[in-house]
Amino acid sequence: MKKGKAMTFYTKTGTSTLPPMNQILIFVALTLICVIGLAFGLHTMLVGHHHTLATTREVPWGLLITPYVFFACLSTGLCMIASLGQVFGIDTFKPLVTRTVFLSLIAMAAGLLCIALEIETPWRVGFYALFSPQPFSNIWWKATIYSLFTFATICNFLLLMIGRKKIARVFATIAIVLVTVGNLNMNSDMELLGARGFWSEGYMPLYFLSLSALIGCAAILLFNWISYTFNKQSPLDQGDMALQATGRLFMVLLLGICYFTVVKIMGGFIPKFTNNPEAMALLVQGDFARNFWIGEVALTVLVPLALIAFTKGKNVRVLALAGTSCLIGAFILFYDLVIVGQLVPHYQHYDIVDIPQYYSYSPSLHEIMISIGIIFFFLAAFMFGEMLFKKIYAHDQ
């Protein structure tokens, strides 16, 4: 620090005003649904997963892994897009930085909250992860990396709030490296599960990263539009340009995901294109075909592509709609990714009598309610940010 220059810990942003009543009411409603969902999680923790969740010995990972993977990937994608403006200094994306960093932070918080409710004894995690670490475990690395990422992003956001952009950039760089490593590690984590070859396809690392960036773009398009709608503003020129640039990036990523989807379809119909023909057939032609064709193909890729193509990516409202479609589709995609691989029986090639062709799994009420609780946690936190940090977000523009 230069001599004589006092350190500023906050910036006065003007006279404080209460957020509009409708925003407060929406925040309360979102929080209420979140609390109801989390109450189911607490109940599960108290009585044991055996009594409330639909997971079994054969299918140990259920619906609750989906919001975790979804929000962790969403956080990764948001961090990537924020880093375009903050770390790589691309001016077009700068108006989005602070809100995107906040969204990335709350997405990771939602993911970590979900995994805390998914594991049976979360209270042992902190102690044994610290005092009995297993450095060969990808799960250990994932938990450590995501915790460090959360810390770096909190620092980044706080520094952005007080206008310390240079130091914030250092934390943003740390965060982007951490979260990308974490994302690759999540893929390795799933890939290394020897019994479940479904996740070991060669394209998975790039697929995970591309998907993360895709849903990051989708969330930016959606939540910035919601923000403008709530505040009864139309985006300023710079904000509009940033969203349009995000829309263009979104379209490029959609084309990339389109390629991976075609690879999946080929694997589903032609066994030689996949390491896991049974699982891919189940996904593309079997019981999960509706999820695949409606969720993964139509909602994730085709609908957003069509919407952007029709409007040439210039209408912010349509971009938000495309983002919504993509986010819903991606959630279904992650559900399929987690579940389908587990449904192929362990001893399927051993001519076992009375073994089903596929194991079955349907989420229980508790799993659905906890997932809803996690989604509404994210939405309530977003709303909270809109009410509290509106002026800080406005500084970016």
Partner: protein, 260 residues
């Protein structure tokens, strides 16, 4: 198609534009981006190190059964299952339940019924007992974040430390043999440990509850480093054909199957 078109752009004949024309800021940004990407992939690769380095493969030559003197553990416990002898009486399952307090909703061992083709082309039934394969490269140990499941350094049995189990169930998802379940009473994963803390201890390392209960000698417990045990003799008798389950998993199991 003309020859020129077939050749396409001949890169070796193009003039090198060099990097001098790039603006220095662009170059710096590009280099920074390259470094980050490289760092990220290096990081990802480092985190994918192979697990359990001490749990060496049963054989460095890649064979399922190691040569004498190359066993990673001493005693190196094993079980030979003579599939043709199993009559599915389930006495082994009962013994396992009562000895190891296995609850009704779970199991440590199970007998699967197979319908296989014999040499004359007819279909016949066979019973295949399954249990934890006490693998030399166990995927469950590889994925556990807290070391709650681990290979015993002396005898190679895959054991559980219940206090450390966080219940993430990754080991269940990772096990190719469906050998694990979550035991509510322990708030931890439970699995076959060759009766390490019960029958094996009582018998001085000679047998397990299921082997002791089997009336048809379908399950033979033994030590692969001790030539006096029946399991050793069965495996090392020339002409005996045996196999392991799911060798493609690369886990190097210690449960060996043979017809009779």
């Amino acid at each position: 198609m003309s020859e020129n078109k077939m050749k396409g752009i001949q890169l070796d004949k193009l003039e090198n534009e060099g990097v001098e024309t790039l603006i220095s800021e662009d170059r710096r940004q590009f280099l920074r981006f390259g470094l980050i990407v490289t760092g990220v992939f290096l990081g990802g690769s480092i985190l994918s190190l192979t697990a359990a380095p001490k749990a060496q493969g049963a054989s460095r030559s890649g064979k399922v059964v190691p040569a004498v003197g190359q066993f990673p553990y001493k005693p190196h416990y094993t079980m030979v299952i003579r599939q043709g002898n199993c009559i599915n009486c389930e006495l082994c399952l009962d013994a396992c339940r009562s000895t190891n307090s296995v609850p009704a909703y779970g199991y440590r061992t199970l007998i699967l019924e197979r319908r296989i083709s014999n040499t004359e082309g007819d279909r016949e039934r066979a019973f295949m007992p399954i249990l934890c394969n006490q693998c030399n490269q166990p995927s469950c140990v590889r994925v556990c974040p807290t070391g709650a499941t681990y290979k015993d350094t002396t005898n190679g049995i895959v054991l559980m430390n219940n206090n450390k189990c966080i219940g993430c169930k990754t080991c269940m998802a990772a096990c190719p043999y469906n050998a694990r379940y979550y035991k509510e009473e322990n708030r931890a994963i439970d699995k076959c440990n060759f009766c390490f803390d019960t029958k094996l201890k009582e018998s001085g390392g000679k047998t397990t509850a299921c082997c002791a209960a089997c009336p048809a000698s379908a399950r033979i417990f033994g030590d692969l480093t001790n030539p006096d045990t029946e399991a050793y003799k069965l495996i090392h008798t020339p002409g005996n054909v045996f196999w392991v389950l799911k060798p493609e998993s690369g886990t190097l199991p210690n449960i060996f199957y043979m017809d009779a």
